[in-house]
């Protein structure tokens, strides 16, 4: 089997690319989402096997050199295990049929975890590995009382005389105890993700002894960046240039979020507050990563701090050949 082809990644793909490819394909190929496809189960197994090998450095090396036959051990983890790393225990419901909200089945609490994310991660995407340690309801020997409720009981005291009392009535259920279990989850930070977007892991919330566990949701919180400000898919930044550069022109590079350089070349005069639009140098759009916003650069000018000598003042008057301009006007206009 060609694992790279199954995942749709080049042989040089990074671990991040592999995780991203798996997550996207797993949702599409899950047998529950393809009930009419007789080969769905097999395709899904292949996907799991491909991920298991290519996501492990050792196994990937062996596969690259010797092919699938050269892999030392058989496949250890069941595919269900790998799938739940990305989507939680009941993850197959996510993205497919929405979870049936059966009012009668009690549900454990949901947990919302704020996940801090940098602009670099918003630009290029990333995976955050998280260990979830949670109490799980497991069968235990014996029985326990469950569904306890208050009921009115009518007892007859004598002919025509009745008494109504309140009684606590319980059912008998198999005994459960809470055991702590641990698993690793992979949270994907998709390129272009916006503040407040949530990534749910179905069934990874708090348990309920009489019902289903709640969900775990990661809520994205984009943190402030020292160089770039985000507005939608656009990025804003400021550059201070010297007075000389503003008058005679300059060349410079701005290092972008993934390290690539944005080149700026000016040979005209640059006024303070001048804006330069660089299309395609913003953030990728969440809905289509191929479309990017713009980078808007605002320039301000650093004026010399020391006082100029009499000579310099004369020289400047000569060079600029500018008379006195002293225009008085209302600059605020109501703001």
């Amino acid at each position: 089997r060609d694992f790279y082809k199954i995942l749709g990644v080049p042989r040089s793909a990074s671990i991040k690319d592999i995780k991203k490819a798996y997550r996207k394909l797993a949702l599409q190929l899950h047998p529950d989402r393809n009930p009419d496809d007789p080969q769905a189960q097999e395709k899904f197994q292949d996907l799991g096997a491909a991920y298991e090998v290519l996501s492990d450095n050792e196994k990937r090396k062996q596969y690259d050199t010797y092919g699938e036959e050269g892999l030392k051990d058989g496949h250890q983890s069941s595919h269900g295990d790998i799938f739940s790393h990305f989507f939680g225990d009941f993850g197959f419901m996510f993205g497919g049929t929405p979870r049936q909200q059966d009012r009668n089945i009690p549900r454990g609490s949901d947990i919302i975890v704020d996940l801090e994310v940098t602009l670099e991660e918003v630009y290029a995407g990333n995976f955050v590995e998280v260990v979830r340690n949670k109490p799980v309801a497991r069968q235990a020997p014996g029985k326990r009382k469950c569904n306890c409720r208050q009921e009115m009981r009518t007892t007859q005291l004598g002919p025509g005389r009745f008494q109504m009392t309140q009684e606590v009535v319980c059912d008998e259920c198999p005994n459960v105890k809470l055991v702590n279990e641990e698993r690793t989850l992979e949270v994907e930070i998709e390129p272009g993700v916006r503040d407040g977007m949530e990534y749910p892991f179905i069934g990874e919330g708090e348990p309920h002894v009489d019902g289903e566990p709640g969900d775990l949701r990661f809520r994205i919180k984009v943190v402030k960046h020292p160089i770039f400000e985000r507005r939608g898919d656009d990025l804003y930044t400021n550059v201070t240039i010297s007075l000389v550069e503003s008058l005679v022109g300059f060349e410079m590079d701005i290092t972008h979020l993934d390290g690539h350089k944005v080149h700026i070349s000016r040979d005209k005069i640059t006024r303070p507050g001048a804006k330069l639009w660089k299309k395609g140098e913003g953030l990728p759009s969440f809905d289509n990563n191929n479309i990017k916003g713009s980078l808007i650069i605002t320039f301000d000018v650093d004026f010399p701090k020391e006082q100029l000598t009499e000579e310099a003042r004369e020289g400047i008057k000569q060079l600029l050949k500018q008379g006195s301009v002293q225009k008085v006007y209302n600059g605020l206009q109501g703001y």
Partner: protein, 221 residues
């Protein structure tokens, strides 16, 4: 961790050191998958009294009148989750392992208030009242707690203490229990001395794996 070469036993000791460095893939110990990192959400268990640090939308009837903090026996209550954050905005980025001696804030996940203490008496034992204070994770300087542990970083398996930065008390439980409406919950308060009543261990939670290799002792090779 590697002490400078001692005089007599230098030979075999050095050989041992050399072999240790040659063994590939130090494994979990060095990469610290068992460390508590900033941004993680967890429940804290008082090791002596077996109750979890807890808060809820119920205010103290005395003292400061702020939101109460208690200890509960249940292990499946979402109101026992606390988020570990640095002392200031940006002070501890996501995935950074918490160092022993570092000041952190513990934010109650469901109400957004920070673990807090101040000079008010606690209602049952007359120690120092511990409350939950602030809005949306923002409180004041009295929200800072120093993580006291041995070693370099806070390990999930370790029993640690929380010492308040402003008043120096230790987060403690000594067994007093409330009546209604929070029957059976234990009082959590601040005590001036370190003892068996103030050790806590990280239990259930969502632990973000360390994003930075914590510097262990052997950084010079």
């Amino acid at each position: 961790m590697w002490s400078a070469g001692r005089g007599g036993a230098a030979g075999p000791a050095l050989l041992g050191l050399l072999l240790a460095f040659l063994v590939p893939g130090g494994g979990a110990a060095k990469t610290g998958t068992g460390l508590v990192t900033c941004g993680s959400v967890l429940k804290l268990l008082n090791t002596h009294h077996r109750v979890r640090l807890h808060s809820h939308d119920i205010k103290y009837g005395s003292g400061s009148g702020q939101q109460s903090v208690t200890g509960v026996e249940a292990s499946d209550d979402a109101n026992s989750y606390w988020r570990i954050r640095g002392g200031s905005e940006g002070g501890c980025p996501r995935g950074f392992p918490v160092r022993c001696g570092q000041a952190v804030r513990l934010t109650h996940v469901l109400t957004g208030k920070n673990l807090h203490t101040h000079h008010f008496p606690s209602p049952l034992s007359n120690n120092q009242e511990v409350s939950a204070f602030g809005e949306d994770g923002e409180g004041d300087d009295l929200d800072l707690w120093t993580v006291r542990c041995s070693g370099k970083h806070w390990e999930r398996e370790a029993a640690v203490r929380f010492q308040h930065v402003g008043t120096s008390v230790f987060l403690s439980v000594t067994g007093e229990q409330y009546g209604n409406p929070i029957r059976g919950q234990h009082e959590v308060h601040g005590m001036p001395s370190a003892n068996t009543h103030n050790t806590w261990k990280a239990m259930e939670g969502i632990f973000i794996k360390p994003s930075v290799e914590p510097s262990a002792g052997h950084d010079e090779l």
